[in-house]
Amino acid sequence: MKYSYYPGCTLRTKAKELDTYARKSAEALGFTLEEVENWQCCGGVYPLGTDEVATKLSSVRALRDAKEKGQALVTLCSACHHVLKRVNDDMKNVPKVRDAANLYMGEEEPYMGETEVLHFLEVLRDKIGFEELAKKVVNPLTGKKIGAYYGCLLLRPGQILGFDDPENPTIIEDFIRAIGAEPVSYAMRNECCGGYISLRDGEKAQNMCDAIMENAAGFGAEMLLTACPLCMYNLNKSDKLPVYYFTELLAEALGVKEAE
């Protein structure tokens, strides 16, 4: 099985391991991530201006590229996933944006939001299946108590992202179970880490992350798991608990972490 793959800028710089371990794990699980050629930055933030089109074009190009190959588009970074998924929804359901974007693109056949956008975790859940994944685990992380940290970008707005129940998500907990560890459910797992506010008011982001860490540790988590480079950046300012990308633990469980 082949998927188009949109890594995004951060996975080339600060979050290289999120990318590397995902590719290794994918091969171990029997699917290939084919990087979209000449992909451009998604912009990092979904533009909320209703007349904003230009900043959505890079996403549209990637989505279109996947459509031409007849593949679903897989993402890893929460921010990229959020932007691509929402732009795709615009192309499907918001005629004003769709028409303007297609006009800019100038291609013969308009893009109508046909591509399926999948987060890597959704591939694991919906395409591979967590039960199948569990069967392929060679190095189960038995005994590790892990708190899933969702953040907000993967979950909301719930109806567009369609990732999981935005208030009580379970997908990362199910993932943790599949790799043999013990998920620790704590209330603040879908609280915001502060996001980009850390650039302007580092203390505020720090306070938000401290509260999340404290809540998770209080319920017995020994480490946190995330899919988002920005969450990782913010959470790492707080040294209460170690934070890992989910792909790193996946690669470890599949026994491919050290593979070349």
Binding site: P166, E167, A187, M188, E191, N215
Partner: protein
């Protein structure tokens, strides 16, 4: 050719501001058969009706067209006026130039043209109207009340007091409804049971009232004055005549793990149970899902201890058929399901409860014997947060768009009672608006704030976070201060939106009573006929029609009773003459009409017919005009065009269409 008069109403400015009524009058004067046309500011007024009557007499009119509001509003008014002037009331047609024209258009030119066209259609129809005569049907002098809460009890008592027989059908084992679950009632703080149980006893003891508890309406047929209802009496497995209500069976029952419905699942009950101590009738039922005897055949302890020999494991459901003249829906409400509201941690923490659950916690007969304590660890709370509008006034798919109306007052009540009994407990209320219109209501809320020191914060709560130490972190906003609030709480109480009881859709369907998008039953007119359903003979009492508190429910229950009494006081009702009839020469007896008739009004007979000199016996459809409601389904379904509806014949409808397309 009829001599027709046309009367165009201004409806003040409602019609005249958008439709040039003078031009309508001048234009319709040219229509065939129109010998009189005039306009008047308020045609429905006494002077307007007099104008119509005078014209009928002076011009010897054979039919009239009133261009005015919807026929649902004033058709009856104008028919009566015509009848008084000696014209058959079915020679009156309404052209709806208000709802169908002036209210929905802005352009006067277009609206006037449309008004003329609508008038023209009505004129074309009147030409073909015939002098219909209503029939008569007898009224069964007995009423059915569906639901045995305070609404149903009050309606039944009022009808019974007027001397008519009433049956109450209640689906749970006891009457009493939601009110029996409440601890105290606002704004006087008297105990709910103290004011309700005497009424329950009155209802049970009244010679004109008959209770069918643990029973449900199975099917309804018939029409106003003549309903026939099947009632399913669910098997109690306890003989109502033998049981003395001693309670020994409940005490000895070994299966005590079923969740108590009465206590909102906060504690458990035995498999054989009465929902609460003051239940009426005081006869238990056996819950077959929890009963050991029912599940395994072994046990039978209740039968052994019952001195009266009342236990009967072989009892079966029983269907009773009863005739009624009127039916009152009083099915009440429930709180909404909170699964969609994950942010309040209701499913995660036992210390987050709904207000109705708090009623049970505060009640001496409740799961905590009336002690205010956390359900997780039994500790006394020091900090309680109330969250208002949980699911009410909500504009997304999760909640309800309406205000549940009772929450502001019961929250003020809870806050006040807690501060009064436990002065060391801090109480905070998060609200969007405090809505307390009602006699002594605002004074009550202000007492909570001013005398009892309840802390009201304008703002919504975004999240309730269970903490590792067992407390709850409440994150909200204070809109007046423009601040984010994070506070610790030991208990959180959710003022959960109310919605009509789950079974109401089914009941409305059986009664062909209309229901709105929120499952509230629709009233015949929102202002002028608030306790009647648009379906004749069906009346509405209590929250099934819209959110209400107890005083309002009791008032509406009384009003519904008055309407029922007014109906039952009549010996006969005039029936609608606009019923279907079958042309025996065209009918081929195919049964299609019988299959589509929702009222079971069509049967078949072998009739001798003379078809162009050929005499033969044919199977043909016959309409029972007493049962036919004139819906017209059969006329559309009939493949040979034999079925026609009097007053709305195919010829009349096509004449209207022709007039519109002319």
């Amino acid at each position: 050719m009829q001599r027709i008069g046309v009367f165009v109403c201004h409806c003040g400015s409602n019609i005249a501001a958008t439709v040039d009524v003078k031009r309508v009058v001048e234009t319709v004067k040219k229509e065939q058969g129109v010998v009189h046309a005039e306009d008047y500011p308020y045609m429905c007024s006494e002077a307007g009706q007099a104008l119509i009557a005078a014209a009928i007499k002076e011009k010897n009119l054979g039919g009239i067209v009133v261009c005015s509001c919807s026929p649902r509003m004033h058709e009856a008014t104008f028919r009566k006026a015509a009848e008084r002037a000696g014209l058959n009331p079915y020679m009156v047609e309404i052209a709806n130039i208000r709802e169908h024209c002036s209210w929905i258009h802005k352009d006067m030119e277009e609206a006037t043209e449309k008004a003329v066209i609508l008038a023209r259609a009505a004129i074309a129809k009147v030409h073909l109207n015939s002098h219909l005569q209503p029939g008569e049907s007898l009224v069964t002098k007995r009423a059915l009340v569906i639901g045995g809460g305070i609404a149903g009890i009050q309606t039944a008592l009022d009808i019974a007091e007027a001397g008519y027989e009433v049956d109450i059908v209640e689906k749970t084992p006891s009457i009493g409804g939601r009110m029996s679950q409440l601890d105290k009632t606002f704004p006087t703080l008297d105990c709910s049971a103290c004011i309700l149980t005497p009424k329950m006893v009155d209802a049970a003891a009244h010679e004109k009232i008959n209770l069918y508890t643990y029973s449900e309406v199975e099917s309804v047929s018939g029409f106003v004055g003549n309903f026939s209802v099947d009632i399913r009496k669910k098997a109690r497995f306890v003989d109502m005549n033998k049981c003395t209500g001693c309670g020994l069976c409940q005490e000895k029952c070994p299966s005590k793990k079923a969740k108590s419905e009465f206590n909102r699942g906060l504690n458990t009950r035995s498999a054989i149970y009465t929902p609460f101590a003051q239940a009426i009738p005081n006869v238990p039922v056996i819950d077959t899902e929890s009963c050991v005897k029912m599940k395994t055949g072994k046990c039978g302890l209740c039968e052994k201890v019952c001195q009266a020999g009342a236990i009967d494991y072989s009892q079966k459901d029983e269907i009773i058929t009863e005739k009624y003249g009127a039916i009152v829906v009083a099915t009440g409400f429930d709180t909404i399901n909170l699964d969609q509201y994950g942010e309040y941690a209701y499913n995660e923490s036992p210390d987050v409860i709904t207000s109705l659950e708090l009623e049970r916690v505060m009640n001496a007969a409740g799961p905590t014997k009336g002690h205010l304590e956390r359900l997780s660890d039994g500790k006394a709370p020091k900090e309680i947060v109330f969250i208002q509008c949980v699911g009410s006034r909500c504009d997304d798919h999760r909640g309800k768009p309406y205000c549940s109306k009772i929450c502001c007052m019961y929250t003020a009540k809870h806050a006040m009672l807690i501060r009064d009994k436990y002065p060391d407990v801090n109480v905070t209320v998060f609200y969007i608006d405090v809505r307390t219109p009602g006699k002594n209501f605002d004074e009550f809320y202000r007492r909570a704030v001013e005398e009892y020191g309840v802390n009201y914060i304008k703002g919504q709560v975004g999240k309730v976070v269970p903490q590792p130490d067992g407390s709850l972190l409440v994150q909200g906003s204070d809109l007046l201060d423009g601040k984010q609030i994070k506070m610790r709480a030991d208990m959180v109480v959710l003022a959960t939106a109310i919605e009509p009881e789950a079974g109401v859709r089914k009941i409305a369907t059986m009664l062909t009573a209309s229901i709105d998008t929120n499952n509230f039953l629709t009233e015949a007119h929102p202002k002028l006929r608030p306790v009647e359903s648009p379906t004749a003979g069906v009346f509405l009492s209590g929250v099934c029609q819209g959110p209400k508190d107890i005083p309002e429910t009791v008032s509406q229950a009384g009003a519904a009773a008055v309407k029922v009494i007014g109906l039952l006081a009549k010996d006969k009702l005039l029936t609608n003459p606009c019923t279907a009839e079958s042309d025996t020469l065209l009918c081929n007896g195919c049964s299609v009409c019988q299959n589509v008739c929702p009222y079971g009004a069509i049967g078949y007979e072998d009739k001798e017919v003379n078809d162009h000199g050929i005499r033969e016996t044919r199977r043909v459809a016959v309409v029972n005009s007493a049962l036919c409601q004139g819906c017209g389904a059969c006329t559309v379904a009939c493949p040979s065009g034999a079925m026609d509806l009097k007053g709305f014949s195919n010829r009349q409808i096509l004449a209207e269409v022709d007039a519109i397309c002319r």
